[in-house]
Symmetry: C2
Amino acid sequence: MSEAYDIVIVGAGPVGLMLAACIARMGNYKVKHIDIRPERTQIGRADGIQARSLDILRNMGLKRPIMAYDPGKIYEVAFWNSSQLCGAIHRTGTWRSYPDFIDTRYPFTTILHQGRIEKIFIEDLEKYGMYIDRPWTVSGFRNDSEDPVYPVLVDLAHVDGEQKTTVKTKYLFGADGARSFVREQLGVKMIYKDPTVYVWSVIDGVVRTDFPDIQGNNVVRVYVQLVLPTGGQDLRKLVTESKVQQAANEILSPYSIEWDRVDWHSTHQPKAGQGMNYGFLDALNFAWKFHLVESGFAKRSILTTYEEERQQMAQKLIDFDAKYAALFSTRPPSTNEVEDAVRFMDRDDAVETNEFVKTFKQSTEFTSGYGAEYSPNHLNWSSTHPAKSTFFSPLGIGLRPGRVFPPVTVTRVFDATVAHLEQEVPQNGSYRIYIFAGNPATTSRALSDFTANLQEDRSFFSSYRRDDITSVSYENRHNPHSLFFTFCIIFNTARARLEIDEVLPNILAQYRYHVYADDIPCHRTQNSRAAAHIKLGIDKDRGGVVVVRPDGYVGCSLALVEGAGTVEGINDYFAPITTKPLGKLNVA
Amino acid sequence: MSEAYDIVIVGAGPVGLMLAACIARMGNYKVKHIDIRPERTQIGRADGIQARSLDILRNMGLKRPIMAYDPGKIYEVAFWNSSQLCGAIHRTGTWRSYPDFIDTRYPFTTILHQGRIEKIFIEDLEKYGMYIDRPWTVSGFRNDSEDPVYPVLVDLAHVDGEQKTTVKTKYLFGADGARSFVREQLGVKMIYKDPTVYVWSVIDGVVRTDFPDIQGNNVVRVYVQLVLPTGGQDLRKLVTESKVQQAANEILSPYSIEWDRVDWHSTHQPKAGQGMNYGFLDALNFAWKFHLVESGFAKRSILTTYEEERQQMAQKLIDFDAKYAALFSTRPPSTNEVEDAVRFMDRDDAVETNEFVKTFKQSTEFTSGYGAEYSPNHLNWSSTHPAKSTFFSPLGIGLRPGRVFPPVTVTRVFDATVAHLEQEVPQNGSYRIYIFAGNPATTSRALSDFTANLQEDRSFFSSYRRDDITSVSYENRHNPHSLFFTFCIIFNTARARLEIDEVLPNILAQYRYHVYADDIPCHRTQNSRAAAHIKLGIDKDRGGVVVVRPDGYVGCSLALVEGAGTVEGINDYFAPITTKPLGKLNVA
């Protein structure tokens, strides 16, 4: 008898670890996690955590251990260029890593050694009783199990020893890197579109230099961009350490850089340095869909959206990457151009005609992680979605399905804490339904109608109540009724004026840890009252509802209306993916 | 031969530990630190860290280990009162712990068990090679050493064993609590002013209750205020645990509270719960004066300002405490009254005639720690200070000597980090001289004159240069010229427009880690440009200079002028306390 697992994860780099850490938070899944290396990363590799990744890590409670290392934070990029007069380089400008139009709480890239990132995940997983078997590798896998529940057989082998085993599993996740065995076995090829390719050669170490922008303790990472022919050659042989050092010195002339110590040297395709970060988003995207299917909420068909959404995103990155590298190889921007671009971009009505502005904007969106926008499908509402209610995407709404739910600051009524609303529901695989309840006097009827309709047959609420609903503890306060969803309710009123049991019907009052007052000023809305409502484009009296996917992307938004319309809209939104029929919509 | 120490610290509660941790950061001092207890606090005692204390702890790098415990944060206070109709209590209002007029980055009280606070300090001290000898006690001390450098002899004894020793020291610091042996030996009496006294009886434990404001895991601390006759009786015998529990139940009626477990029970005089926090400020106040004297910068006479400043502060607290307790014993405020009070207080021009508003405002200032204002003396400039330059306290300045230098957010030019200016110089015993340099085009001449005058004979700059000035490393970047002071330079311009070596003369350019752009919007100044200049009331073109004491309180402010005036003003400001004659002022 083979041991049976819900999932086998191959690879314990940041991506495989992120997947395991997500799954650990969602349910009691049986995970087999292997890694070919005898120990975690010791030197080099990835180190830049983009802002969107930091959001996600914070939502998992992992931002604090990251910050405990006092990591570097990159707030800006400096440009040095040679002048035509003397040939020597000089600083021609700086630009902020994340200009103002990137709406983030963390306008910087966090620099932490991959080994430390892995350590944080590994220690986190240990709290859930999850461990990595190493050094183990996959020697093969196939789809011929006799067990219909666990259709995949995976052969595992100890790297050094004689041990071998075959396990059966529902899912096999290959997070085994650029030379993935899993991918190779499945016949998924690397596709090179261009005859040449930009390559980043990277060296970590300690330098002696007179280059003015290197200060402090002189521990540096230097990237040198090279143009090479494509074709799958071993770049490590093609690009030697001394060649790269020489190239760096030529570029930095008249300054020089000497290496007292080299810790690591490697070469990769640039992808705006986004490998780990895109992998994080892959892992999270897969995790919640896996969870909704395995816990009986969603149909298996939602799994196809994983490849659809993530492949599209990867393709955009690859396409952009070539364009970006080419742009900077031809003409670097001046300070004025950068400033003009930022000013221009901050105007929502501006039509972008300048190629530089467009590319610049895209680059910051890519490197921050907020540029990601998932296209319309059953998860991201649009007019092509089966749900056709006129209440979707109400007039003025500032949120687009498929985009990140932005940072919004409110007061938590329960304990008057200043709360970051987008972080209030921890990463646990639940849909997050934000009821912006406007003025309590105006929405009182709408809220009671909403609550009444929640309890109708075939509502998403009635259909997916948890079994242990009568004994839900403080630990389960985010999900008093169901693990499929949770509510947050935000009133446009001062916290001191709010008495939860007076303004909310009993069902919603059970989300008392998730009731908020929209009474914190925000400089993006000129400190007006109701800053959160205004920022999101939600009517500050009549309110509105936003359904956010478990990964923090907007699924749909609706008006908050009297009568059955709002709940029916949500039922229809969920109907195409749920295992039970919801609402009046007939979905195949 | 007795062992010789710079200081003997008696007591390793939060106050003694704070002193040791401050001193560790200031110089290489030899410290003997003893505590009568065999181990650190395990249960009960202090737990509320006020915002001002958190500022100080952050400046020492200790906020992160505090937050690693995920401590409670008290953002608000709820009032429950019995109605005249039915006698049952109900919630009559909430109020924010720190209303808007308290200008802090941390508008909450941080709740962390005293044992954990001690642990954080102890682990910090270990990094400096400092340890606490325990259980040891002082058996006596006297002023008859034959060594003029170490005039105090202290007899120490092991609590359990036979070990005894006598050490000699320059200073003896008694942080040995409410029943201090050091104080008793010196004949310093406790003075009771009133015939009765308000007493807080406190119980820590786990409860079962239907009181709606207790939720979560039911681990609570309950204080019950009692009125007792004064006279130094043993309150522990007078106020038993069961009496307090009974009183709590009477107060909470019709709700009940039963104790599943009691961890700790004690009684103390309220002092707005500020014992530990005031002690922190005592320790810091003493530490930097001790350091300036012992490192040869300041005359011994500044030590008298320790008692003067801290005793005044303690007296204000004691006076206020009685008033505060009395106010709430007679009539608690309604929500409307609290809101009106806050609105009223936010108007700077409002004359406070309402006793409730006054007391309310004072209470939040006391409990936040920002209300502390040191009176004029040689450290806190006023028109009575020996320095008489007309450039002091320029028109419009929003800073008062003796008050905390407030939070200001700017961009650090060196790495474009969004920086909290008031935190930029770590706690190291140096004066912090903030040069707000306004518009670089306007102040260019003033800055070069300032720099030229720094280098004149008898300037504070020339007089206290460090010996190792030619070999100052990155680790000493805060103090390239002297341990007596450091500079921060803040320009009113966008970071991208600033090139340090172009806008600053060489001397000031050496503070390149402390050059800032005032380009971050702030909601308190309606997001105008130059928010930091405007908030502090500094001319946004012509700038100004603020000298901040090593403990973060404003010492003086001056106009930034062309010619010698600004540096001469600073020389005169320092002259009364320095060991060397400064400037033209003749100070005895």
